[in-house]
């Protein structure tokens, strides 16, 4: 494919420019470490870990925090969102609260979370959880609201009671939206990761970047950024695959 090879050339070009510029010493190595340097750092961290903690443990703890948060967000936001989409009363109670907290930058309330919940894993996971909650909730409300009303009328006139309608029509009907919401939530939560690991951590990929920036270890910073970028892409890719498999009817009717 022409397109693919063009993309590869672009990355190759960037790599070459990066290599040339840094190796000819045109830029300071703190501003821009060379690719070999970053690679060497990578190998070093893979083999010896960072701050005496193996690389896989850093990665593991970060993923643990992220997945715990997403998991909690799914099991709370999906029922609340579906309820809010279905019942006007429930919507009146809960919706404005979520609309209000949603735009607030997570860092603004992180200190308060720490005061309330301590410096352990709880406050970190809750921060990521709050970031993930709103997108899933909103997607559920949206999903329920946009279900083809004929689907519901059909079900009723086929003899389905409200619970049956919910279980077999409203829920699957909203699923494509819910899944999109989960993907968005993963993105938002992921982008809050570094903030969450900024306080009282001694592990995690986000913390590694923050720690490196304290000592101006550019090659570690660059490496961390590259790892986070790749990880973000990978997670979204996996979610996309799962979506294609589970929500096979998405976009069809």
């Amino acid at each position: 494919m022409k397109k693919k090879s063009l993309t590869i050339s672009v990355w190759a070009f960037i790599l070459i420019v990066w290599f040339t510029v840094t190796n000819l010493g045109w830029v300071s190595p703190i501003l821009f470490p060379s690719p070999q340097e970053v690679f060497k750092t990578f190998v070093g961290i893979i083999t010896h870990g960072y701050n005496n903690i193996p690389f896989w443990e850093h990665l593991g703890i970060t993923l643990f925090r992220l997945f715990s948060a997403i998991f909690l967000a799914i099991i709370t936001a999906v029922p609340l969102g579906l309820a809010s989409g279905t019942s006007d009363t429930f919507n009146a109670i809960i919706d404005s609260l979520i609309q209000f907290y949603r735009p607030i930058p997570p860092l603004a309330y992180y200190t308060i979370l720490i005061l309330w919940l301590g410096i352990g894993e709880t406050s970190k996971i809750v921060l990521l959880y709050l970031a993930a909650f709103a997108p899933i909730y909103l997607a559920c409300v949206e999903g329920v609201k946009h279900i083809n009303s004929d689907y519901i009328l059909s079900a009723k006139s086929l003899g389905a009671n409200p619970w049956f309608v919910f279980r077999w029509v409203v829920f699957p009907g909203a699923l494509p939206n819910i899944f999109t919401g989960i993907r968005t939530a993963m993105g938002v939560s992921f982008s809050t990761l570094v903030a969450a690991e900024m306080v009282a951590s001694t592990s995690g990929i986000g913390w590694m970047v923050i720690d490196a920036s304290k000592y101006l270890k550019s090659s570690v910073m660059f490496l961390g950024i590259l790892i986070l970028g790749g990880l973000g892409l990978l997670l979204d890719f996996i979610l996309q695959k799962i979506e294609q498999k589970w929500i096979f009817w998405k976009g069809k009717s």
Binding site: S28, P29, I30, L31, Y50, N51, N52, T111, I114, L115, G118, I119, G120, V199, A200, S201, T202, W207, D211, S213, K214, Y215, L216, K217, S218, S219
Partner: protein, 315 residues
């Protein structure tokens, strides 16, 4: 990077503590020494941000912990070590919760200790832990000072190595195990230092001399009229006079003769003791993997600005 050659401007990175810069600012020493120049003071929470600013040309001078100075050297930031603002004493302490039953340093085993990473306190703590072979037996947490207070209050941590004014907030239910003057006695002095950008030094050596003169004047004032100096520092930093007094008592401000002597920064011929101890700190930090290599004496020698000193320090 914005390397502006605006010779009417001086950008100074400061810490919001009652130090010589605060005294000088409050008593308008800077204005007097730099008439007609535009002075911009930028407050940093830590040497971490100050280093970023030095790197990108956002400030010409910046005050920070000497460990951050080591970071600046290993990160190859084009700066020189110009001045020791203060030597840390009991303003930085290792403090433990009274309720935690920690009687001596050995008891720290298995406990959680918080400290702001990359700070002088962090370094001091690691030295203590190493000396007592506790490195792998405690959990060291990276926290900003404000988070240390919160975590302390909630009982999330058992001990902390931190500085004033945070210490005051911990002292009501805390007990001091050791302070940084002890570390100094062991040969691991720490202190706050001021760095100057190479470019500035090259372009405007006279302004650098004047800058040192201003700070030296503050040091002299502390010797001659301690009370006035404390009042000025308190006013400048917005804290009470008694707090300022407590914090300043914990530190040592050395005279300009001492600064550029073999005890501290060294003179034309010899490297200073303080700089040597910074080199030790560098070696230690490299051992901790926090910096990418351990600079040798030569590098610290080049890093230290002390040769010009002979000409003006007698003012």
């Amino acid at each position: 990077t914005s390397t502006d050659n605006n010779s009417d401007q001086i950008k100074i990175g400061i810490l919001n503590t009652p130090n010589d810069v605060a005294v000088a600012r409050n008593l308008n020493y800077f204005e007097k020494e730099f008439p007609g120049k535009q002075l911009k003071f930028i407050t940093f929470d830590s040497g971490v941000d100050a280093n970023k600013a030095l790197m990108s040309g956002g400030v010409d001078f910046a005050t920070m912990g000497d460990t951050n100075g080591v970071v600046a050297l290993t990160a190859d930031i084009p700066v020189k070590l110009l001045w020791i603002n203060e030597i840390c004493g009991n303003n930085e302490q290792l403090i433990v919760k009274k309720s935690s039953n920690i009687k001596n340093i050995q008891d720290l085993k298995g406990k959680k200790i918080a400290t702001p990473f990359a700070s002088t306190s962090h370094y001091s703590l690691m030295i203590v832990l190493k000396k007592y072979h506790l490195e792998d037996k405690v959990t060291v947490l990276d926290m900003d000072t404000q988070n240390i207070v919160a975590a302390w209050k909630r009982g999330n941590i058992d001990a902390a190595y931190t500085w004033q004014p945070t210490l005051t907030q911990l002292q009501s239910d805390g007990k001091t195990l050791l302070d940084s003057s002890t570390l100094g006695n062991w040969g691991y002095s720490t202190g706050n230092v001021t760095l100057v950008r190479d470019q500035f030094l090259k372009d405007r050596p006279k302004d650098v001399e004047k800058f040192v003169k201003v700070l030296s004047k503050a040091h002299k004032l502390r010797k001659s009229n301690y009370h006035l100096a404390v009042k000025a520092a308190a006013k400048q930093t917005g804290i009470s006079v008694s707090d300022a007094d407590k914090q300043m008592k914990g530190t040592d401000w050395i005279s300009i003769d001492q600064e550029y002597s073999t005890n501290y920064l060294g003179n034309k011929r010899n490297i200073g003791q303080f700089v040597k101890e910074m080199q030790v700190a560098g070696k230690f930090m490299y051992g901790q993997q926090t910096i990418s290599y351990a600079p040798g004496f030569d590098e610290f020698n080049n890093f230290t600005y002390r040769f010009g000193g002979d000409q003006f320090w007698k003012h």
